[in-house]
Symmetry: C3
Subunit: 182 residues, 3 copies
């Protein structure tokens, strides 16, 4: 079972002057996959505090994936990507690219997302938008591909190049995708 | 009113042996939006000189957005992205991704663009291509989403997560985008 | 004639317990373009060893382009992108973006690719997937645009902004692309 941590980044949410909707929505959506949210927190838009929680969830709680929500835009205090970049050991640029590429089909403002994703130890960290609508859209885009990544990161699967007699890593989805394109 | 700075990066342009077309074209296109170009300059492909102008336009002139044109390709002296990365405080990867994603529909050579975008203080810095055709195409791709980003960066708008009863950040464009897709 | 180096990154391949398919496939595909592979090697997933070979191929052998295959996923020992980032002088983000954007049309798992591309001196370095299927797909996506980039990097071509009377950099492909879109 995949273990999840959720960090809501919001000045107003952390002071209790706004109800956090993004965080609970993440918990709800991933629970439909059977994933269990182990820890959640609301922190202000302070880089050091975001970093501290990311490290705690990855190193101490040892969740498989941390989702952040909020703090990825152009506002002067938006620093969630900076906190994430400061603590990950390896980047996973394709996840944020995929979110933006799909979101761009809905609104050109999607290009303003500064979200990043990366790996710290055995924990995947992914920045999601702050708005409930953005959270839902982005999770829908990335969840189909994410389970495999988490399995590989945990060492639960063989490496892709071994499947030399089959279609390689992208084999399973090939037929469906080909059908869609026709 | 949005205040703009334009930096043309070109060895030949700076020596006067080539007429700068990219810079004046940027000034013309943004003026159609009512944006005012406060400062323009032509500098050679020298990283230190590009950095110096970027810092001057952001910190001293305090324009809202700086567009560079030129120096983003594979030529040995192309260093505009490196100069930009050296001075921005926060990255805005989605803007360059959007330019390349759209340009790829026109030519596969678009993947050779090494353009980046980022934020220094309250100034957005965006690398555009050197060719007038590339400048025009890229500005057309990004301008629809850019005004909102500049507003947020200047603190002229509420944060997205607040619009809890509406469609969130992407609300305004939703209907139009949905219509286009049908 | 374009000179190529190929580095297969694989723990099992380097110990001889798995036959390398990705490396020979790269050699075969680029030979169809008349490109000559000067050097090939299989190294384990050790960052220092990958870096050493990248530097050797770029600085000593002076190939025009190095393709790596393998080590770009989420497995704990996958560090090919980290080795590449450590040795390149300039990033070329559009190449990896293009590979992922096209691969995403085949499978959502493509977003898990952590591949990067960049330039060291006059050598372009590109991370390809480990699976033969992934190698073939990604090379098909990027080879159409790559020759021009290599020419520019070697100083064999004028800069794009000079073509002021034509269509600029994207001129050549314009008609074909427009035709395809109709």
């Amino acid at each position: 079972m995949v273990k999840v941590g959720v960090i809501t980044v919001s000045d107003k949410g952390s002071r209790g002057v706004r109800i956090d909707q993004g965080g609970p929505l993440i918990v709800e959506i991933v629970s439909e996959l059977g994933w269990e949210t182990k820890v959640t927190v609301i922190v202000p838009d302070e880089q050091a505090m975001i970093e501290q929680k990311l490290i705690e969830y990855a190193d101490d709680v040892q969740v498989d994936v941390v989702f952040t929500t909020g703090g990825t835009g152009f506002a002067p205090r938006d620093v969630t990507p900076e906190a994430t970049l400061a603590v990950v050991h390896r980047l996973a640029p394709g996840i944020a690219e995929a979110m933006r590429m799909e979101s761009m089909k809905i609104t050109p403002k999607a290009m303003l997302s500064r979200a990043v994703a990366g790996i710290r130890g055995k924990t995947l960290i992914i920045n999601l938008p702050g708005s409930p609508k953005g959270v839902k859209e982005c999770l829908e885009f990335i969840l189909p591909g994410l389970s495999h990544g988490i399995d590989v990161l945990q060492g639960n699967t063989g490496d892709c190049a071994e499947q030399v007699t089959g279609d390689g890593c992208s084999g399973k989805s090939r037929t469906a995708a080909s059908a869609i394109r026709q």
